[in-house]
């Protein structure tokens, strides 16, 4: 009897683990963690490392991606529907900065049948010749699940407080 109970508990735990591990929320959080690592670096990467990062970056985005990002202070502004342009923007940024650290915090995911929308806050720290810059970017993303992977279809800034300048 005890063996049956233990087996039942193991099977239930296995099923829960399976659902959690392969669930959309976990997969998308893994994607964001991976994206953080790809964008971030402590020292200016070598040419090869830069190329690898740039090529890897493209694969996070779908071919019909739309980016509409603007920070409150205007330091970051990126509007494009071309993922090649994302790579170019990233490569151009690498020329000017010696450190980029990106963390996605407070991520709220809403996934449903191969599509997901999420809100997250990107905390960005940049060191450049002009000094240190810290940015907080609330973002909304839409992702689609295709060919076994999640890809980012759109990224747009969220205006938490509508400002008047």
């Amino acid at each position: 009897m005890i063996v049956i109970i233990v087996l039942a508990v193991i099977i239930v735990a296995g099923i829960i683990f399976f659902w959690w591990w392969f669930g959309a929320n976990h997969q998308i959080k893994k994607l964001l963690n991976s994206l953080e690592s790809t964008i971030s670096f402590d020292n200016r990467p070598t040419l090869i490392a830069t190329s690898i990062k740039a090529e890897r970056l493209i694969n996070y985005f779908s071919s019909d991606v739309a980016l509409d990002i603007k920070s409150d202070d205007g330091l970051v502004e990126l509007h494009t529907t071309d993922r090649e342009e994302i790579r170019d923007y990233f490569l151009a940024s690498l020329q000017r900065v010696s450190l980029i650290n990106v963390r996605f915090l407070d991520t709220q995911i809403n996934a449903n049948r191969g599509r997901a929308s999420l809100e997250t806050t990107a905390r960005v720290r940049v060191l450049s010749d002009f000094g240190e810059t810290n940015l907080i970017l609330p973002l909304r993303m839409v992702l689609e699940h295709s060919s076994g992977d999640w890809q980012i279809q759109s990224v747009s800034s969220i205006e938490i407080i509508k400002r008047y300048r």
């Binding site: 407070d106 969220i158 407080i161 509508k162 300048r165």
Partner: protein
């Protein structure tokens, strides 16, 4: 939010404060970005349906000057033309008005972004 609340201080927010009543003018509230970890502390000065303007740093609600004893710094001459607040919209601003208008995060916020009222 200085001098009432110092930067980098540890504060507590009552998340149940607005379960049974609406936010009120003068309340210091937590405005969340996208979740529970990052938020701004701001003071509510304008309520839904009101018209808020800032003239030479002085806040006016429906054309009446708002008394703000909690502001203890010299007010910079901020200028904001009248803004009409819609339903579920509040006008929030920090107490530290000695900063330049462009450097201070203030304006209208949806009620859904306000997580609660500060306790201390």
């Amino acid at each position: 939010m200085e001098p009432a609340y110092d930067n980098s201080d540890f504060n507590f927010i009552n998340r149940t404060a607005y379960w049974r009543k609406n936010p009120a003018r003068g309340d210091v509230v937590g405005v969340s970005f996208t979740g529970q970890r990052l938020m701004l502390l701001k003071r509510i000065v304008g309520l839904p349906g009101e018209s808020v303007a800032i003239i030479d740093g002085q806040i006016e609600i429906n054309g009446q000057v708002l008394s703000e004893p909690y502001v203890q710094t010299a007010k910079q001459p901020w200028q904001v033309p009248a803004v009409h607040l819609l339903d579920q919209e509040y006008f929030v601003v920090g107490d530290n008005r000695d900063t330049a208008q462009a450097d201070h995060v203030f304006g209208t916020v949806k009620a859904e972004r306000m997580v609660g009222k500060i306790l201390w």
